[in-house]
């Protein structure tokens, strides 16, 4: 019986594609706020939902959201997890904690890191506040907030 030829197992053909991303009008409003150390929310006039970050229009009612208004930034941990595994492209050494934070006055949640605390002490309902970067590093980017941390002496929500 003849044997089949050995199949080619690999060859290299790397694809590279460059893109321009378009943030959109809604996202741009929020991102510009971050550059000025502010968290800009917007309200739906129909369902009263407050979005943070806010798109241009309510994804449930499909109507344009209100003019942006500022929220303080402090909020409550709604849920969280501790990342223990390494992966390609990781920028922080594990273990670290990522959380869903409901900022006071918003009906949606913001995702960010929680630091400056023993990871085992973080719990759902814990009150947290943003730690902004230095003035010279402020940008139209989520990285304008370095992370969230527990409010000193803050009680749970």
């Amino acid at each position: 019986m003849s044997t089949l030829p050995t199949p080619v197992e690999s060859f290299t053909s790397p694809h590279k594609v460059d893109y321009t991303f378009v943030a959109g009008t809604g996202r741009s409003t929020f991102l510009r706020g971050l550059k000025h150390r502010t968290l800009l929310a917007r309200r739906c006039g129909t369902c009263e939902r407050v979005y943070l970050p806010a798109p241009e229009f309510c994804s449930r009612c499909l109507v344009e959201l209100s003019e942006p208004f500022q929220l303080g930034g402090s909020g409550v941990v709604e849920t969280f997890c501790v990342v223990n595994f390494p992966f390609p492209g990781q920028t922080i050494d594990p273990p670290y904690l990522v959380a869903y934070i409901q900022v006071d006055g918003a009906d949606t949640t913001l995702m960010h890191l929680i630091r400056d605390v023993e990871l085992s002490e973080v719990h759902i309902g814990m009150r947290v506040e943003p730690v902004w970067c230095a003035d010279e590093d402020l940008d139209t980017s989520m990285n304008s907030i370095r992370y969230y941390r527990p409010i000193a002496g803050g009680s749970d929500a």
Binding site: F11, S13, H15, K16, V17, D18, Y19, T20, F21, V22, A23, G24, T25, G26, R27, P55, E56, F57, S59, R60, C61, L62
Partner: protein, 355 residues
């Protein structure tokens, strides 16, 4: 066959690069216009189908963003094709044919401007072993087909220039067009080659646009439109993945799809008043017109040679073919959509208005 018609169609103005709107923002005004034109509320829509491509957007599941212009809460019945939205229209038409509902909305978002070089994207759809490693430009593959047609005596460069001159003249006053104007054949033939025998004007300008179509069945269609554009027949056929296995001077998939659609419709491509062809390149018009034995007008508003918003382009062909009937300009029209290099996959729709 169930009576299924296009009852409304809208599209955004032609633009080379929309740097203001995200996917939902470019879609929402068009969605509003189409639903208002049909006089319906989104709660009346039974099924949603859309077409766009993650590789054009540079993100996985990119189209999910467009659902913010549809309203996915409370949950809806929807589907998406990772290709030209003409195929989403085909899915919605089939869905209505099966009697699953009464009203379907189809939309396409094409944003060709996001990839810095669209050829980096189109390479990824090619045969990964023999063709993609060579990185052929889409214009080069098209030029190979055009050259083969010239060698076969089926085409010459003057014919191609005539197609472009007519398209640009027809586009004057068309808000969807990215280029328009009176230009002579001699002026066009004096331009340098891009990939011989093709010149820059022989390919439709890539751009950004959204398009929305409302389909409805039977009496619902009669209620929503004064003169519904009945989709009497539709079929699509695909050729092999590797162009080297094809005779590029033949378009068998077009002929088969047209025959199947004609059998459903009871009339043929040669019987239509206006044909809207997905001609990304000028040379494709004589080729398709010959295969379909067309005798009426072709792409009167300029077609893809004046605006090519990638994955919305084919859906816009069906929309334009429907508009000719909705507005009473024609009684029978044809729409053609294509996908893949060198007319690899082709769809034919035959539409008709009540007389």
């Amino acid at each position: 066959m169930r009576d299924v018609a296009v009852v409304a169609f809208a599209q955004s103005p032609g633009t080379a690069a929309d740097r203001q709107d995200d996917m939902a923002e470019i879609l929402l005004p068009v969605m509003r216009e189409a639903l208002a034109s049909a006089g319906i509320d989104r709660s009346e829509v039974d099924f949603w189908a859309s077409g766009s491509h993650d590789f054009h957007e540079g993100r996985t599941f990119a189209y999910i963003e467009s659902l913010d212009a549809v309203g996915a809460w409370p949950p809806i019945s929807e589907s998406h094709v990772e290709m030209d939205a003409a195929w989403a229209a085909y899915e919605a038409w089939s869905w209505l044919q099966l009697g699953e509902g009464e009203i379907a909305v189809v939309y396409g978002v094409g944003r060709g401007s996001l990839a810095t070089d669209l050829d980096q994207v189109t390479n990824t759809q090619l045969d990964p072993y023999f063709l993609a490693p060579l990185r052929p430009h889409q214009d080069a593959i098209a030029a190979i087909q055009a050259q083969a047609l010239i060698a076969a005596g089926a085409l010459d460069e003057k014919q191609m220039a005539e197609v472009v001159a007519r398209a640009r003249a027809g586009a004057v006053g068309n808000p969807a067009a990215q280029v328009s104007g009176e230009v002579t054949v001699d002026e066009l033939l004096a331009a340098p080659y891009l990939a011989s025998p093709l010149r820059e004007h022989d390919r439709g300008p890539i751009g950004d646009a959204a398009a929305v179509m409302v389909l409805a069945a039977g009496d619902t269609a009669r209620r929503l439109a004064q003169r519904p554009a009945w989709v009497r027949g539709a079929d699509h056929r695909m050729d092999s993945h590797y162009p080297g296995t094809r005779d590029l001077t033949r378009t068998d998939t077009v002929g088969i799809a047209a025959d199947k659609a004609a059998r459903q419709a009871g009339f043929a491509a040669r019987d239509v008043d206006i044909a809207e062809l997905h001609t990304g390149y000028s040379y494709q018009e004589p080729l398709l017109a010959g295969a379909l034995e067309l005798s009426g007008a072709i792409n009167p508003g300029g077609g893809p040679l004046v605006a090519r918003p990638t994955t919305a382009t084919g859906l816009i062909r069906i929309g334009d073919a429907a508009r000719h009937i909705l507005t009473g300009r024609a009684d029978r029209t044809l729409a053609h959509a294509t996908n893949g290099p060198a007319l690899q996959q082709n769809m034919i729709c035959l539409l008709e208005g009540d007389r």
